[in-house]
């Protein structure tokens, strides 16, 4: 296992110091790839897009996940049924989710859900090309990623809520705390651990997401939704500059090195308890 991940990883580091072009032998060029990217406008856009995509998706997932958990927690019948139903997007193939949302936002009424419904209701007179503008395309990929991920947040937070002892709520109610104060002072602190874990994990995976963006927009229009993974693929497999392509993904490594120990400490503590 270590071989299958560690060896390619060390090859990645070595490649990033070369000017490897497909079909040519590699030459050592030191930090030239890193310097080139740091000065490139596209790469700066990529960094910004990745952060916008990740932060927006994670924030939406946390908020809707909390709402979903509260609703499920208050459900008095068929809770398992609804939990299973709401978890459906999480087991569906990401590529199919991306295709689905691509059609949902399609500019053409027969294919695009939003255009069909809004035109049919008379709220629009002409279809809107949602994915043709930079902001629209970014919003579309964020929505698709949110839809895939929020059910998992909801189910995790529900499990967290179920493990908070009921006596805490009873005591608070006796002391005259309203529903909002009980949520703020009991539920949220009780969920702190699971929230940290879900947020960090999803942050890592979303920052390196490839599937949704590649299938929905290919990074476009222009470079409006290009992120680390899609840009790395573009440079390595379309421009055939492997050294530079690898370097793009290595730029994320310092952040991973900072985040991974945080996540694993939380997860390992959970195990020990």
């Amino acid at each position: 296992m270590v071989g299958l991940i560690g060896y390619p990883f060390s090859r990645a580091i070595w490649l990033s110091f070369t000017d490897k072009l497909v079909g040519y032998p590699e030459r050592f060029v030191g930090l030239r790839n890193y310097v080139y990217l740091a000065e490139e406008d596209t790469f700066r856009t990529v960094v910004r897009n990745s952060l916008v995509f990740t932060v927006a998706s994670v924030a939406l997932k946390v908020l809707t996940g909390l709402a979903m958990a509260l609703v499920l927690h208050a459900t008095w019948r068929w809770r398992n049924f609804f939990r299973g139903l709401l978890l459906l997007p999480w087991i569906t193939s990401t590529v199919i989710i991306a295709l689905t949302w691509r059609w949902m936002f399609d500019a053409f009424p027969g294919r695009g859900f939003f255009n069909s419904v809004l035109l049919d209701a008379g709220l629009l007179t002409r279809p809107i090309a949602f994915m043709a503008t930079p902001e629209g395309a970014m919003a579309a990929v964020v929505v698709a990623n949110w839809w895939r991920g929020f059910p998992f947040f909801g189910v995790s937070y529900l499990a967290g809520m179920q493990s908070i002892p009921g006596e805490l709520y009873e005591a608070a109610a006796v002391d005259g705390a309203g529903a909002w104060r009980r949520f703020w002072h009991i539920t949220l602190p009780g969920l702190q651990h699971v929230m940290v874990v879900t947020i960090l994990l999803t942050f890592i995976f979303t920052l390196n997401d490839f599937n949704i963006i590649y299938v929905m927009t290919r990074g476009g229009p222009g470079t409006a939704t290009q992120v680390f993974a899609t840009y790395s693929y573009e440079v390595a497999f379309n421009q055939l500059r492997w050294g530079r392509g690898v370097t793009i993904s290595i730029y994320v490594v310092p952040l991973l090195i900072a985040l991974i120990p945080l996540v694993s400490r939380h997860l390992l503590r959970e195990r020990a308890a």
Binding site: G84, L85, I91, L99, F152, L256
Partner: protein, 273 residues
């Protein structure tokens, strides 16, 4: 209390709509004719209802071949993963050897390394092995993410089982392998099934590695093949929807029967966003 219940019902309804509308949109489009999609007729329910997309997909494209490739890959990877993860999980959970905690952390870290970081160097390694452009590339690369995740899941499961049962078996003269096979495995069956299903779903849905490692159209898996249908021929919408439905149905059916195990497996083992 009554307003609380009303809010819960409204909330459940809203979440169910958000989750189900995209699924319904795809399913309904898969039963529409080309004209119904093209001219935005019978927007909400396909009328008349047609199977032509399904027959066209099955007879006119390579979809059946891709489905077979996906199935073979998922089954092989699940088999490899389950065996390795059981042995690894058991070793870390039960055997005493120096560096046990370090191994547990390492497995977790390997799980957190995103595939977007590894696809370029893995491609080179597989090319040197002569494995690219065949399903063998996927058999070798998919365990890099399924094994760490499932091992981590199973460590938690094995640790939660009472050690006394095995000790009793060992005292009664069973070898360690017999104790594992006759006592622990039957008890851990729910966890192992959950791990196997996760491995299956992860390989069934994987996109990036399959996209990069395989070029031959006959060797593709479903997710990459679907992506080819969009760009290959613009007029395949209905068939694309039909393909999405066919790909999603087996996973969803499987999941309806065992989702409680999956959720509990997750709660025991944490975690994937």
């Amino acid at each position: 209390m009554r307003t609380g219940r009303l809010a819960t019902v409204l909330g459940l309804g809203a979440f169910a709509l958000v989750v189900l509308v995209p699924f319904w949109w795809i399913a309904s489009m898969s039963f529409k004719t080309y004209e119904q999609i093209q001219f935005a007729q019978s927007i909400y329910v396909p009328r008349p209802f047609t199977w032509e997309n399904y027959t066209g997909l099955w007879l006119g494209t390579r979809f059946p071949l891709w489905l077979r490739n996906s199935a073979i890959t998922a089954i092989v990877v699940t088999a490899i993963t389950t065996v390795v993860a059981c042995l690894g999980g058991y070793a870390v959970a039960r055997l005493r050897f120096p560096g046990r905690e370090a191994v547990a952390s390492l497995i977790l870290i390997l799980y957190l390394v995103p595939p977007a970081l590894l696809f370029i160097p893995l491609y080179r390694v597989l090319a040197e092995l002569g494995a690219t452009n065949s399903l063998a590339a996927l058999f070798l690369s998919y365990p890099t993410f399924t094994v760490p995740f499932c091992t981590w899941l199973l460590i938690g499961f094995f640790k939660a089982l009472p050690i006394e049962l095995e000790e009793a078996a060992l005292v009664d003269g069973a070898t360690r392998l017999q104790a594992l096979r006759r006592v622990l495995l039957p008890l851990a069956a729910p966890g192992i099934v959950a791990a196997a299903i996760f491995a299956f779903t992860l390989s069934w849905n994987e996109f990036l590695y399959a996209l990069v490692f395989i070029q031959d159209e006959r060797t593709l898996t479903v997710p990459v093949g679907l992506n080819l249908l969009i760009y290959g021929d613009v007029f395949h919408w209905g068939e694309l929807m039909a393909a999405s439905v066919i790909t999603t149905v087996p996973v969803v059916t499987l999941y309806m029967f065992i989702h409680r195990w999956m959720v509990e497996g997750l709660a025991a083992g944490s975690v994937k966003g």
